[in-house]
Amino acid sequence: MKFGVVVFPGSNCDNDTLHAVRDVFEQEAEFLWHKDHDLKGSDCIILPGGFSYGDYLRSGAIARFSPLMQEVKEFALKGGIVLGICNGFQVLLELGLLPGAMMRNKNLKFLCQHVYLRIENKDTPFTQAGHEGQVLRIPIAHFDGNYYTDRKGLKELERNQQIVLRYTNEEGYLTEEANVNGSLDHCAGLMNKAGNVLGMMPHPERASEAILGSRDGRLIFQSIINYIHHT
């Protein structure tokens, strides 16, 4: 299968992400320049972390207007697999492929640390290699990761099991301290209703090799690869 990693001016996890899917998972992978209109036959599009357009206006707000994002939107609406990591998640929210918005972290600090996530829904292309309740240790690095949606929106997310990953403590409990950025309902990873687009604030590409301190992020990429191979 083939991964396409979108590059915006200010993306800074693009190389790490390409390395994870190409060198660690030995899949075909290519960068996709934001000004192009070509997804180069990718089976899965990844919007990587970073600070697209310097986070000007709002995180992800300008990247949304990049020419390539129109193709990405069409690809997603046709059921294509799209993963947004950190800034990529913010872009997906601004683009309207995922519901809600990101606000500044509750403690107003840039958070760069390992966190624990619990898999809430394993019947997705992004988590099927795991099991429900499984706790992953994956790092975050963001200023605006405080997920917000209105009450009606939250009910909808819960009804459809769209919150795929939640911040928990090491034992998998939803404690207030574990919800480091103040996200609504501990939301760390969110899927669209159709189930083919996932946004997550933690960085699985930074947790895909033992030398990086955790291999738990592999589960996300492995799930996508398994999913694509079986469809």
Binding site: L57, R58, A61, G100, A101, M103, L108, N146, Y148, D150
Partner: protein, 81 residues
């Protein structure tokens, strides 16, 4: 023509930065400050547009680009004819 657009969080959305500013003001003994909401100001310079066009285009720009309507509201005014 110059337009000023003010974007701020909706009243229903917690504004942690505004809260922090308020706390700082209280530390300085400005106890009269009851609440602070932080926002952004944009000044747009337009050329050759009719007042009707302005009425149409400014809310559109504010809604699609300057503000994120999920969490933010906006207001605007003409500051220079």
């Amino acid at each position: 023509m110059k337009i000023r657009v003010l974007v701020s969080y909706k009243d229903s959305v917690l504004d942690p930065q505004g809260q922090t500013v308020k706390n700082a003001l209280h530390t300085l003994n400005y106890d009269c400050v009851k609440d602070v909401r932080q926002g952004k100001v944009f000044e747009l310079e337009l050329e050759e547009v009719s007042p009707e066009k302005v009425e149409e285009v400014i809310p559109e720009i504010a809604h699609t680009v300057l503000a994120n309507p999920i969490i933010e509201k906006f207001e605007w005014q003409v500051i220079e004819e």
